[in-house]
Symmetry: D2
Subunit: 354 residues, 4 copies
């Protein structure tokens, strides 16, 4: 049960530490006969990779995916798809500052207590480097779900919010700026915010909004495996995520039923969509939208006190090249996890037709 798999029918299992020879994964259950666009897969990885702009970490890793199986003559064979991404940036650095200390608000302490020892180099398995494998699998899931559109964007950085509802946004503009906010004015403020935070040697949180369009009616399973429950788990499994809401979310708790109910049109669509495209855990054909909260990155370039493995409080300071704000690089990860959830339910849904 060691937690390295996601999905039931379209299933991803991942492995790898940030400073081992490679990270990688196995996709099991991808239907046969899917013609893959390998450039599109690499493009998703490039959206996530370090060093892509001047508001993200300046580490350089090409993050090139190599497929080892499950694909023949450019098409999936229905058997398991193995892949690896080599770690090219694993130079033997001095890790003594983290070998013997537990960084605050990282997983160092909990891994050590749970497992008795840990790969301390760069966070080991708890490093967000692992999410590159999610992006590979999600890119394949996106191709499988070619008629569904999946758009995530930065909806806040610190206290700078994109106030417009998603319906008023032009998603083609999301990639036009480094922070991945489809409104250029707000994007500029977010970028300034991140730069100023970085100058302080500090980090800042933010939120990502994701919109899924053209999802067919009927995806999701009742009771425990409701569509939004699995979307929530998927998002909460991403490093640094602290919250998830869909449709009316936390704001909906202040509303009355008479305000919140989505009245029907004759064709089964609804006049409003506070339900967020899901009713009783099952998609109803309306847009699905949700919001994901990311905390500020724990590694800061300021001196902090921390605990060492001898039980003493010591001073430490972040080294290396880290993200001042995780949100811009999280966009493709949120999309990938959404694609994995949808692909899984799409396959599950096929089992109900007699």
């Amino acid at each position: 049960m060691a937690g390295n798999s996601f999905g039931k029918l379209f299933k991803l299992t991942t492995f790898g530490e940030s400073h081992g020879p490679a990270i990688g994964g196995v996709i099991d259950g991808c239907p046969a006969g899917l013609k893959l666009d390998f450039k599109a897969i690499q493009h998703e990885l490039d959206r996530r990779k370090p060093g892509q702009s001047n508001i993200v970490t300046q580490r350089k890793e090409p993050d090139t995916v190599e497929f080892l199986s499950g694909i023949f003559e450019g098409k999936t064979t229905g058997t398991s798809i193995g892949f690896i991404i080599k770690n090219t940036n694993q130079k033997s650095k001095d890790y003594s500052h983290i070998k013997e200390t537990y960084r605050p608000s990282h997983a160092d302490y909990t891994y050590d207590k749970k497992y008795g020892h840990r790969d301390y180099r760069g966070g080991g398995r708890s490093s967000a480097r692992e999410t590159a494998c999610r992006v590979v699998a999600g890119a394949i899931a996106k191709q499988f779900l070619s008629t569904i559109s999946i758009h995530a964007y930065t909806s806040s950085v610190g206290d700078i919010y994109l106030e417009k509802p998603y319906q008023d946004l032009d998603f083609t503009q999301t990639e036009s700026n480094d922070v991945r906010c489809p409104d250029s004015d707000v994007a500029a403020k977010m970028i300034d915010k991140i730069k100023s935070i970085r100058k302080e040697g500090d980090t800042i949180g933010g939120t990502v909004t994701c919109v899924l369009k053209q999802v067919p009616v009927g995806l999701g399973e009742p009771v425990f495996d409701k569509l939004h429950a699995e979307l929530g788990k998927a998002m909460l499994s991403i490093n640094a995520v602290k919250g998830f809401e869909y449709g009316s979310g936390f704001c909906g708790t202040k509303m009355k039923g008479s305000e919140h109910n989505d009245l029907f049109n004759k064709n089964g669509s609804t006049k409003t969509n506070l339900s967020g495209g899901i009713q009783g855990g099952i998609s109803n054909g309306m847009d699905i939208y949700f919001r994901v909260a990311f905390k500020p990155v724990a590694t800061i370039m300021q001196e902090q006190e921390t605990l060492n493995t001898d039980g003493n409080i010591v001073k430490m300071q972040g080294k290396g090249r880290h993200d001042p704000c995780v949100v811009p690089r999280a966009i493709p990860i949120v999309e990938a996890m959404a694609a994995l959830v949808l692909a899984d339910y799409y396959l599950q849904n096929k089992t109900y037709n007699m």
Copy 2:
């Protein structure tokens, strides 16, 4: 995959519709030798049952659990525990008003489209009546986890908020009022709010906060099965839930890393707890706390327009006895799901010791 099971090692599978002969479930994986307190189990059901106070639905159902297996001489045997709760309130009513209409913001439309037909009586499988089975299993999980304390309480009803942090509350007062808010002044306001909403024939949303104390270090699995990700899924699977946040949650997105990081004490505890007791998906021994958003109940006593199965828009009005606010009865459900998640991870964690 039809969604009726929860958990991997401490596993609950449920069945039953609101108007069938009975609902019930099977608990598989509960360790052998657990001496059960049957009164405590029934007590949890009584906290959830309809008709318990004058701010909840006035339907009367005794909700008496009958155990059919897996228990011998008062102790669990390690084999599957089957149980049923008879539906005593299933009188043959006139359901024609929902047989041919899809109630707004209910699961009627999506079930019909997914499965081709549906048990329309009282919501069928999508009824929140199903959560009674979760409460039974959760009550057993609580007894298994006897050293962990699990306290949920109403933290808002509509725009009435309990502003105090959980540390300032006396949880022994939660059950002292009908709305299950441990602050009596705020509770009184919440109760007034619910009564006034009910008079309007309307409903209102709210939030539940839950605090888990004395959770041992090390529960949770890295990567996809992080402790908070599974807690999030568990909560989002409860009827009417629209959001989940833990620790600093959505507020944490506005913070800087230097503010958000939880610095260590020498004993491994932390001075602050914005992490919410979980780091890298694994419990760190601090209190775990999270907040769950419930939308207003969709069934209102006002006339609404809706869609019928012939594709026409018609008028309908809620009948019967419904909750004006779901939150007071949701408290034991939130606790039950938290207990199920913890029991499952507790067992998973045992598999890591050599």
Copy 3:
């Protein structure tokens, strides 16, 4: 993981001890819209029930199944199907003879050691009474797979063998005699054998052969979940089973490749079928056939020495009414498990079509 579930997409979870109030189960994943023939389900239970003929145990239990959920207006709804079978024969007997002794070749000793205590009444959870729940679920699976025919029959009792290959048998004759052997001459010898064994207060083993016809090409999953591997597991999970072989089975080990290979006809069928209808773990459209070995029932009416819970060797003798040979009543169980395996793979196979 406690072992009480079978199947991945068409999934059965069972509960219940032989002397509790009821046994039962939950079927999750049965597609919606299946019109059920309830008489046919009860008929399968009647084929398994005690007291049905004079060569089986003379215990009387009606074994009437009651469905509690998942069915509306005679059709499956796609939600979980809960059912129970009340134990009517659970009179408070004197169980002291087994309370403090471990019956030889039963599960008494291993359950006690594994779980620390056990329900000693009639074998508790280890009783073959549990298989009645498999028959219920299998009967529904058979109806789901209406175009596939599943025929099991008694192919040996002790050293009395039905030598004819299955192709030479008339399966309509299987139910014409109490031992369920489709050849009336051999059946008569088997019945004599069982009667003579019973007179000695002894028991005897036997084999069941099962033939699956009109299985579509493509069922089964490669590598670990080969169709015959899951069939083997299904059969080996039935009480008293010691072996499984399919196609050429153990005899095939003595053959040469040039003899064993099944050459093709132009339509993709094969001239011979030593493969037993499965190649590479996937059905090829030919008849699937396999053989299951049942040991003699462990409860005998002769005095035996055994161990008591104080660590002393004591004399004991079987009491009550037991089967002298388990095979006649095992026929519907073998068929039920085969149906469950096929239904599961049938649903899995639907997930591969783009």
Copy 4:
């Protein structure tokens, strides 16, 4: 569900085709802190590899395993262990003879029908090359289960049987000859048999017996996941296996209960062991032993008729270097699968202690 995973708590997922760049796998759930003996792992691979003796295929592949994750400073970290084995023998050969034909009694036809296309080079995913990954994971499971001894050996080749019971054999002799039969006289006959069969351009089947000693009491789960049921599935999932029996097996069907029952000694051991070390699906502390039937290899060096993809019957002849008898190389695979089953149940069993 695509069948590429085995185990629940000690879980192996594999990928790879015989002629892709590499095969590999992920082991998830191996407890942390296990110090690995890498030479012992490679030694198991060497026992399976082609070209190791003159009675197996003369293909040359070094089969060197490379670990990519989950191990730090020589010890398992509790996170997923990824590994690959590069395919060094994947020279671009002429595969046109199998591209357009379905080899008799191979998986070519069924894969093509199930998935719509297939990697035809060397059998693709259906190649027994995949079992190398099982051997890697099994070797780690063996090290985890260091107190349990697992010994498999060749018990028959064609009609040459090793008649001695396993108790009379010296397992230290198993590796002393190429056929892996611990009796040197019988081994010599088996080797002669294989050589003579090879000269004919033909192949021959055989059986493997496996003995598990010092298995603790209590492994296995009741009802559907009985220890022998999972062992059976594990063995039947190995390429070319047609049957499985344990303890008295098919012979036990001819016995009476009074002969078959294993009477107890005062210490809980039994005087006989026809049960094969398992009662009610749970290990009882006695030796576990079972027998596995392997059919003759389907690829023969004689001309055969077969079907091509145009629906015509054509002549074909095996090319390349194939095993005349699969059994000698299957010994480490049988042991590996047994180790995986035991490791999984060992971890499951830990979840029952309060």
